[in-house]
Symmetry: C2
Subunit: 416 residues, 2 copies
């Protein structure tokens, strides 16, 4: 019975009746009553937790041909399978399923289409020299996805159980990950509200799913430093808002400023906040600034603090941890603190900017050449013929040797 | 060929191959190339505008049974048909279609699921005493939807052409609108991004659709004044943000504060802004406050100004216009200005609050009894045994006589 409901989202496997057939709709409504209500029917019963032992796997009968690694484009092609788990307010997490990659079939009244009940993660699986698959810091992604989901009234889940299931998807589709260095499998866990009524309230049902896209190196021919445009006419996030959550709601409103920046020749936009014009984050990355102190000459690596307006990037956290472990002993200061665009411009004028780089799952590290601000270009420390600074290069190397399992490190979790 | 692509979103009518079948996927990719790219293939060609003359209508063969009017719940049941229009960056607006109400079949990578590319409207159609269908101020909804869509890089459209098509849907399903006073057909125009790749950028394709839900009176047994909880721990909108747009992104993050308010016995939450604690708007309504001036005794009807943090409600605008036309001659002052929670509390203490009410499409007018703020209850002018103040009642009557066509008024558009 749960199975019948649970299949209803899937077009190709669906045994669920179309709603336009009254006789069947009535049957469907009866069988899937929980979809129509946010009230638990069995509130006194314990809700189901994610149970990996209940996983069912339906393998594709029509495996895709693999693309040549050089033809892979981020998020354009996906592996043969997907992982999905449905949740209902009355039952909790239903049995996990790995199925062929397929369309979702959703009522046009489904709340994700109207009220943006969506949160997601970006994470990557890598193939090490022994051919084992490794996932980078998945516990961080699970913690963040749970936090994001809670903020929009979507259900919590057991992160470890979900990691276990993601590992099974990665293993099943591991032949999609090219062995060459720089390649990986981008994993996109997503949770959406699936309640199919228009009242504005907590969804009574949800779908947690993972799709996987094989990706090549962000910079296939080596680093290319990017240029940014500081955005002061629009605001991404604010205190008391949801800018620290990985919600879909934080993304659509960022596209137009990004297009504006692109129209003037800049790769991404840099979000400033407040009259002080604090540097917050870049379109899809956190930002690090390395400067020299004007008095002492001390080197400082600075990134914006987690004050609720900054995405808590996993790569950001990795850079900070590595910097504290490996740069501080070399005399660096590492700071999570507010830093204004004016301070950066002044440091640039005084030739004290060592380098600036972004951090994120897609590129890992992305060096920045210059930032357009108030009609001026702030140079970020890179000589014209150099595409990456030493700290950015070092960080990328340190992180990648962990990601690819060149060294043993607790951040890299082997898929068993 | 366009038809094949355009059918791909619909599960029950779909002739579009599943993506898990390589041979067919390849065919699909070729036929529907525009779905995979945000670049226009024929940039030099003129993009298609919405063309109502190209409308195709596929009527249901299994009409739904009508519910008894008393059993109608807002947004729970829908009419037999839906209107949909697909847009692609290369072609523009494809031929409009009215089809049986049915699920959307979407790739799990579709951008609406990840980045909240969604904007919507709420509007209503009414049946007048002659049995004609009337829509209330649809031009306002079209203008706002275009503005919302533009802010998240979704395509613009010709509002008049779309109103024409919505009228055809209303006419086809008009038997779902009960003739009794207080009933109407809630219309939900929605636009979503349908690009099926994970890169964060402007969608190369979109779907504009309308579903319709017959609804009864918000207060079936007469007004019931609501109580609100002022929210100071979370912030809905910010200058430079998107709080004035009807984006899905503005809704999911509002649910938890609403649930918090409900858990303490309040019907909705009231969003305050800034250290000044300006009164902005209620969960799903704009807010009006009627107070007497402490010196002159002049009556003033106040609502928050459109500073970018307030939804530009159509009912809000209607209340303002009617108040300027009909209350100002009676000595009222009508103000769009900032007003703080402290000012309201002080006016309540001094017994100068005449009444407070919300305005929105669902309830039209919703009287407010009290507001919880900093541990105190601010009384909003209603005696204990009274559920609505005279201005709220008057506004509802004025607006409804226009909506139901009791009087001729340019705001009520007869569906021809």
């Amino acid at each position: 019975m749960l199975q019948s409901c649970s299949k209803s989202l899937f077009s190709s496997l669906s045994t669920f009746p179309q709603r336009s057939t009254p006789a069947l709709t009535s049957l469907g409504a009866q069988r899937c009553r929980r979809w129509y209500s946010i009230h638990a029917d069995h509130a006194t019963e314990r809700l189901l937790e994610i149970d990996p032992t209940r996983l069912s796997i339906t393998k594709t009968t029509t495996p895709k041909e693999l693309l040549a690694p050089k033809d892979l484009i981020f998020g354009h092609t996906f592996t043969d399978h997907m992982l999905s788990l449905e949740w209902t307010a009355s039952d909790g997490w239903l049995a996990p399923r790995i199925t062929p990659y397929q369309n979702l079939s959703l009522d046009p009244a489904t709340c994700v289409f109207h009220y943006a009940f969506t949160a997601f993660e970006g994470m990557k699986a890598y193939k090490d020299s022994k051919g084992q698959c490794r996932i980078f810091r998945p516990d961080r992604n699970m913690r963040r996805l749970n936090k994001s989901a809670a903020r929009i009234a979507l259900p919590a889940f057991d992160g470890n159980a979900f990691i276990d299931l993601i590992g099974k998807l990665v293993k099943l589709d591991n032949h999609f990950i090219p062995s060459e260095r720089g390649y990986s499998l981008y994993l996109r866990p997503t949770i959406i509200g699936t309640q199919r009524t228009l009242g504005v309230g907590p969804p009574g049902s949800a779908l947690l799913y993972v799709i996987a896209s094989p990706v090549g190196p962000y910079y296939p021919t080596g680093f290319k430093a990017v240029s940014l445009e500081a955005t002061d006419y629009a605001v991404r996030a604010w205190p008391g808002g949801v800018g620290d959550m990985k919600l879909g709601a934080n993304y659509a409103p960022c596209i137009v400023p990004q297009m504006q920046a692109a129209s003037r020749g800049f790769h991404q936009n840099l979000w400033l906040f407040g009259e002080e014009e604090y540097i917050t984050e870049v379109g899809t990355m956190n930002l690090f600034v390395a400067v020299k102190d004007p008095q002492t000459g001390e080197k400082e690596l600075i990134t914006a603090p987690l004050d609720g307006t900054i995405l808590e990037g996993v790569t950001r956290d990795s850079v900070l941890e590595l910097a504290r472990e490996r740069l501080v002993p070399k005399g660096w200061k590492v700071s999570e603190r507010k830093y204004t665009m004016a301070e950066l411009a002044k440091a640039a004028e005084e030739d004290r900017v060592l380098e600036v780089f972004g951090s994120g799952t897609a590129a890992v590290i992305s060096p920045v050449r210059k930032i357009s601000w108030k009609g001026n270009l702030v140079q970020c420390g890179l000589p014209d013929d150099v595409e990456v600074g030493p700290i950015a290069q070092q960080m990328k190397d340190w992180i990648e040797e962990i990601q690819y399992g060149d060294i043993d490190h607790p951040w890299s979790v082997v898929v068993s």
